[in-house]
Amino acid sequence: MSVGRAVRRGLAVIGILILLLIAIVVGTWIWAMNYPREATIEPTPATLSILAGPIADGPQAALLRRGRYLAVAGDCVSCHTRKGGAPFAGGLGLGTPFGLIYAPNITGDPETGIGNWTPDQFYRALTRGVDDEGHRLYPAFPYPWFTRISRADSDAILAWLKTVPAVRYMAPGNRLPFPADIRLSIAAWDGMFFRPGRFVADPKQSPDWNRGAYYVNGLGHCGACHTPLNLAGAARNDRFLQGSNLNQWVAPDLTGNERTGLGRWSVDELVEYLRTGRNAHANASGPMAEVVAYSTSFLSDADLRAAAIYLKSLKPSPDTAAAAPDPAAMRRGAGIFSDACASCHLADGSGQPRLFPPLPGSAVAQQRDPTGLLHLILAGGRTAPTPTRPAPLTMPSFAWKLSDQEAADVATYLRNSWGNRAAPVSASDAAHLRKALRLTAPLAIERNQGPNR
């Protein structure tokens, strides 16, 4: 081996290592980015009127109605609106351990928004992750999913976005450290993980199935949350839609698994959930409440049904073995459940469907990762209010009431009663989440020492 070859080979190895390092750094922030976002699950009436108000008749009306429908299906508003800011004007900071990235203004303002974008530029951004000036977008923007969007749909979305009240507002510059601040590093990430493509219908499947697949894997970008990511922050296709940790929440398994997934849900029930935020099995809270409130509750029955048909076709994720729970923890958990949970979920856990989810068979309870369940117990969770079911039914916070051990015990009990089965939960899991969510410590148990203190 010549010196030159060795050097070249060494350089190549170093190059690959650098690329990997970049990928890992970028990946880490994507992984962390998924949901440390402010939960603003309730659309304001002003936003609702943009998302669902009337569009005047006119030559463009059909195109604009279609464009808005698609923009709602893509839930653009959730990320492109900062708290208290105008809809679609951007400025919401997506946090990472290393810095912040800001969703841009996508109203029709020519200078700060996308008023001057051409349909070509917009299509390239949606499907290739490259902006109007040719800069690569961070994959916080879900182009790995949007790449399947059709040109016609892209054009319609752009046409409608340009009619959204234009707001002059420049989102702040992103604040990322080296090497993540080098947009070129995304090229490396794209090269390794991004597969540009377009939606190709599967002729063996029904039109509904294909329509559902186009939505779920395209505009709907369900996999952005529900597919776990690898170390570099790219979707793991081997665990496609099998559920993922979102830092302080869990996006559940969407496959046909009967414990953790949608195996026990019918197509109608899935449609009802996406339409109203609640069904006989579960209520949408946390990040999914936002998706329902801003997006799915406005979609057509036909599209929700198509999505459900596609999702119901997913092969069940493999069951995982779970250690048996400690009988003492189960006894404590049963006591806590009877005293503190039965008010809504009733003594037998059967709940009151559409109000308080039944716990036997609950997928949220049985996710491999207990974070979502613990989040609901400790911090609470609000059901998405929707036009047809406006009640924001809310699980209250138990942080002040339950110690870490008590929260863990009742979670363990829920995961292993009525035929449920999932790994026990430890007090340290609860402690970790309590800290991460900055929740209060439990009220000290009264150690009353009598009259003389």
Binding site: P45, L48, S343, L355, P387, P390
Partner: protein, 587 residues
């Protein structure tokens, strides 16, 4: 100089039951509505979550959901010979404050008045002669039961009321209240199941020829979705209903039935911690221009509005009219004036019932969990020779057994010491109390006006209440309480302790929060503040809701009628007033 706010079509003063009903009705009709609430936003998971709402000390005894008298109170005297003194501590009645008002801590007892209750003067005069009403200032209502029936039904559907109809379109139904006015529809949900005490009561009452029926309940027997899409759960009988918020969404309240719906409307806004000081008018005083309110920084705001609706609690509506100089204040010396006139209450009796051999488990309860007989209410019985008019329902009402309030011992046992303790321990699970929920009829000396001495937080005169029970009502309470005791004895009780209401009215012990009158509705401006559409005779773009509209109080809980009147008013505004603003009834 008050800050001038952007004008709205309608401003609502107070955001409890009637504010929420008005907001929903008028927003759905396309009007821009602003609700001003003097205290804070409140909601189930934050303020009365099932994790902590069963706290008798904090809610019942430390007034956690009630009006805080440190900030807002009134003065009281029994008669004009006394000096009125401030109500320094809540006692007899417990108004609410904050979003939802008293609609949070009520029992959700949802009644309709009897058809004859709307004709208190003419009906009783006709049946019992002029002497029967001679000492009373009772009046007929300007509306009939039949006018309100569709609106009663709307409120039943809003709340999902659990009950059993006794009169469906004129056909008497077994198991319901045979005395009630005809209903167009049965209750939306079936009656609550009964615990032991009401079951024993119903058996005894039936054996005596009475007609027991389940109390109409806004604590629901099953999950329910109302016409607005709002969902209520089923009651789990926790026993912390009356004076508490409901943690599991099973009690009808503005929050569980309306507010989330209306908050989604682009034409609605709620402003909290904004206390309205005055209704402002044009120079000639004939039109309201809006209201002046003060925010929590002490900044004054002028809120222009096309229509002003007073949707606060009865006492505050009266107070605000008096402070705004709208309508002629009532003067008991001359009998002239109308604002503050016919202030009424509710004449509450009870019968404490103790058993030796039966475990009643009274801690299992709900705000409206009761078996009731209505045989001695209103004019459901012949008052000939009795010397009084009016009546009361008798209810084996088991709202729960909060031990600080409801550790009862038989009369004769001391209130403390060893004997008390042993009796308390023995009887806690073995007693309950019959409620004798009576009418309260107006007399000339009972009224509300402005206090000449005491000033409120903002330096305005406090409201002054001059009130005592009339001989009519005390006789009524004695009579019906006696009837209740007879049923209790039939139940096989070991001891029965009738407690008819005795005078004078005492503001310290809790009785009920059903304060009514003072802004009464009527057929003409000389004897009423508002017309049948709750519209001010003096200022046609000012409407007043609430129990202040009652010319006198019937023997039922008022909220069902309060809500029905609000729906009727909203209907008149939507269908008539906005098309042709001006008086809806010519004076």
């Amino acid at each position: 100089m008050a800050m001038r706010e952007k004008p709205v079509d309608v401003v609502l003063v107070g955001f409890g039951w009637t504010g929420a009903i008005m907001a929903q009705q008028l927003c759905d009709a396309g009007m821009n509505v602003l609700a001003l609430e003097r205290a804070a936003a409140r909601d189930t998971p934050v303020n009365w979550a099932p994790t902590f709402d069963q706290d008798e000390l904090r809610y019942r005894w430390r007034d956690h959901l009630f009006q805080n008298v440190a900030y807002s109170t009134l003065t009281f005297r029994n008669n004009a010979d006394q000096q009125a003194l401030p109500m320094r501590k809540l006692g007899a009645f417990l108004p609410g404050t904050g979003v939802g008002g008293a609609g949070i801590h009520w029992n959700a007892q949802i009644w309709r008045f009897l058809p004859s209750d709307f004709k208190t003067r003419s009906h009783n005069r006709q049946r019992y002669g002029a002497a029967a009403v001679a000492d009373l200032s009772v009046q007929d209502w300007p509306v009939a039961y039949e006018d309100l029936e569709p609106y009663y039904t709307m409120f039943d559907k809003l709340c999902g009321v659990s009950g059993k109809a006794g009169n469906l379109k004129g056909a008497i139904q077994p198991g319901g209240n045979p005395f009630e006015g005809a209903r167009s529809e049965d209750y939306p949900t079936p009656p609550l199941p009964m615990t032991y005490a009401p079951t024993l009561f119903a058996q005894a009452a039936e054996s005596m020829g009475y007609h027991p029926f389940p109390h109409p309940a806004g604590n629901l027997s099953q999950a329910y979705t109302n016409p607005l899409g709002m969902q209520l759960g089923k009651c789990t009988f926790c026993g912390f209903c009356e004076k508490f918020g409901c943690g599991n969404y099973s009690k009808a309240s503005p929050q569980t039935t309306i507010i989330p719906y209306v908050l989604q409307k682009a034409n609605f806004e709620l402003r909290t911690d904004c206390d309205v000081l005055k209704v402002e008018r044009t120079a000639d005083g004939r039109q309201a221009t809006g209201v002046t309110y003060v925010d929590s920084n002490g900044t004054e705001h002028f809120q222009p509005a096309g229509i002003v609706i007073l949707t606060a609690f009865q006492l505050h509506n009266v107070h605000l009219l008096l402070l705004s100089g709208i309508g002629k204040p009532y003067d008991p010396r001359t009998g002239e004036g109308v604002v503050g006139k016919n202030y009424c209450y509710q004449t509450m009796g009870s019968v404490d019932v103790f058993f030796e051999d039966k475990l009643l488990n009274p801690f299992i309860g709900a705000g409206s969990l009761a078996s009731v007989i209505d045989n001695y209410n209103g004019d459901n019985f012949d008052h000939g020779g009795l010397g009084f008019i009016g009546g009361a329902y008798i209810a084996a009402l088991v709202t729960g057994a909060r031990p600080i309030e409801m550790t009862r011992v038989p009369d004769g046992v001391p209130k403390w010491g060893l004997e008390w303790k042993q009796a308390a321990a023995h009887y806690f699970l073995r007693n309950f109390s019959l409620s004798v929920h009576g009418s309260n009829y107006a007399q000339a000396g009972n009224y509300l006006d402005l206090d000449p001495i005491y000033r409120d937080h903002f330096g305005r005169p406090m409201l002054r209440m001059t009130f005592d029970f009339t001989p009519n009502d005390l006789k009524m309470s004695a009579y019906v309480t006696d009837k209740a005791a007879e049923v209790a004895r039939r139940m096989g009780a070991s001891s029965v302790h009738p407690k008819p209401r005795k005078g004078p009215f005492d503001i310290t012990p809790y009785q009920t929060t059903h304060t009514v009158g003072g802004t009464m509705m009527g057929d003409n401006p000389t004897d009423s503040v508002v017309n049948r559409y709750s519209q001010s005779w003096d200022v046609p773009n000012l409407f007043v809701t609430g129990a202040g509209l009652f010319p006198q109080n019937a023997g039922y809980n008022p909220t069902g009628t309060v809500a029905a009147l609000a729906y009727m008013t909203a209907d008149a505004i939507k269908s008539r007033y906005i098309k042709a603003p001006g008086p809806l009834v010519q004076a």
